[in-house]
Every structure is written in C-alpha cells, then in structure tokens.
C-alpha cells in the first residue's frame, strides 16, 4: 500500500492539447440546446434530435462528431449519481505545489485513482496558498484519505502543504444552461462533487 502508483511519465490529456475554441454557429447551438438535457434513448438518437432542429440524422451525427473532435463535446456519456453508487465521500483536495513543477505534477496526479477533476488555480496569499486542486471520490472518508496519501507521495518535496475540504452541505445544484434552454443540462460543472 505504500508503493507509489505515480505514473512515471506524464499522461497526455486531450483536453489540454485540444485545438482552440471556435465559435458555435447557429446549427451547432441548436444541437447543443436540443441535447444538453440528454440524448434521446431511441435506436436512432441523431434522427430524433434532427427532427427537433430541422436536420437529417446524418447531419446531426456529423455535427456532433465535429464538436467532439474540437473539444466542445468532451464525450457523450452516462453521468452516475455518486451517492447512489456508494461514493458518498467527496473531498476537494488542495495542494501548495512549487510553481516550477506544478504543470508536470498536475498531469501526474490527475491520472491517479479517484481523481475526477484536476486543475491549477491561483493562490490568494496569505489566506489561501493552494494552487493545485484535485477532486477525489471514495466510498468513505478513509478511502478518500488513502487516495490523498497516494497523491501526497506523488507530489513529494514539491508540495509544501495540503488540505482536504469535504463538502458538508449542498447549498445549490443546477446544471449549466445556455439561454433559452431546458433545465437539467450538463457540462464540466455537472459532476463537481
């Protein structure tokens, strides 16, 4: 258990390397609006979306493939409810990591077990010295703490200090929505726990 599982080489992240954002045109935007609450559960979902936005199923599929290729769509996927699957402990771990090494180490810890989101963010000195955030998901606080200890080991001497901030109360939870759209939409922020 004390063996480090830190990957020896940085894992490439398609999100980091993806091409620059490009404006959505009106057709893309119509597809986003029609699908942000979810994809229809029918054999031909593209055709079903197409009927809603006035396109053929083939055109919808091509548009969605293109949006995925340029990173507007991360993937089309199932989003599990953490709590229902038994992942009741969600810890936002925050780390004070040497600026000279944070880019490399961020990629390494992002690949470790339990990490869903991992970002570099600005410090607010003197109150907030932490510049690396990794969200951990476990079935118990003990499991999250075990995951965090693996991260601690991976970060090594470049890390001066860290904290685990557990969420103790959900104060508000809505999805991201484009204007004029339906509730229940999702993007990056949907899964933050």
């Amino acid at each position: 258990m004390s063996v480090s599982t830190c990957p020896s080489s940085p894992v490439s992240s398609r999100d980091v390397q993806a091409c620059e954002p490009r404006e959505l045109d009106a057709v893309d935007r119509a597809i986003v609006l029609a699908t942000q609450a979810g994809l229809p559960l029918v054999p031909d979902p593209w055709g079903a979306v197409g009927r809603e936005v006035g396109l053929s199923g083939e055109a919808v599929l091509e548009r969605m493939q293109a949006m995925q290729a340029r990173g507007v769509i991360r993937r089309v996927a199932a989003v599990p409810n953490h709590y229902r699957l038994g992942y009741v402990a969600n810890g936002m771990t925050v780390w004070n990591v040497d600026d000279a090494h944070v880019a490399r180490l961020g990629r390494e810890v992002a690949a470790l077990e339990g990490v869903s989101h991992c970002y570099r963010r600005p410090r607010h000195l003197p109150h907030w010295p932490y510049n690396l955030f990794a969200m951990l998901h476990g079935r118990s606080h003990d499991e999250v703490e075990r995951q965090a200890s693996v991260l601690r080991e991976c970060l090594g001497e470049a890390c001066r200090d860290h904290r685990i901030l557990y969420s103790s109360r959900i104060l508000k939870k809505t999805g991201l929505r484009l204007a004029g759209s339906r509730p229940g939409a999702a993007s990056d922020i949907e899964r933050r726990g």
Binding site: G38, P45, V72, P122, H124, L171, A186, D188, R191
Partner: protein
Amino acid sequence: MTLDDLDDIDRRLINRLQDGLPLVARPYAAVADELEVAEGDLLYRLERLREGGVLSRFGPMYHAERLGGGLTLAALAVPEADFERVIDAVNAFPEVAHNYRREHELNMWFVLATETPEAIDTAIAGIEAATGLPVYNMPKEEEFHVRLHLPV
C-alpha cells in the same frame, strides 16, 4: 433505486457508458453488441437507470468555455452567524450553478457559469455587494483532467 437493484449487466452498462457512446449511426446497437445484449434491452435498462436516479443524466458533456461561456470557482469566508443569510444572497444569482458548504475558513464554494467570459467579473462584483464579503476568485489556469469514472 440503489446499488443492490443492479444486476451484472446494469453494472457493465454503467461502466461502459461512463467511457462514452461511440458517435456512429446506431450507437446503442454498437454498445449492445459489445456487451452481448439486445439493443432494446440496453435502451430499456438505460432508461430505467436514468429514471431511477442511478444516472444523473445521459448525453453529451459539453466543455463550458468552448461553448463560449465563462466559468469559475469562487469561495467566501462566511461568519457562522451570517451563514444562512449569505446562502440566500449568493443563491439568488442565476450565475451560481453549484454551491457547497465545505469545512474550512473559506466555507462557501460556488461555481459561476455565465453566457460570456466578461460576465464573471460582473457577477463577482454583484455577489460582493450583496454579501459584503470579498469573493476569492479561483478560475482554472490549467486543466489536467476532467473525467469522472466511478466503477460499480
């Protein structure tokens, strides 16, 4: 619906579909072939998992900034005596998508999502005025990973 209600096929389906649906003409049929179940069975199970709340949703995960919007994580250090008032003041802003209490001096953490990147600063100024507290804005400077995978 809980974990105990899931059979082996449900679990394989949840694990498989967290990785993403292939963008092909009959995507559910393609996954059904992989899992060696009928397409109709897969669709029925997926609907049941979604309706039963095991899945929060099923569909495209959009990258907020690439949709042209603004997104940031921000925090407040709220005095305990004032906490309920500040919840109401912060949640009243439609730009606040998620808001969590966390156990730290910075005890309120929220995500702001706006139609344009410029609107983030306006929302922060509004929240500072409404709460009388300084907002610690922590926009992402680099993204290493965004992928929730919870094996069942």
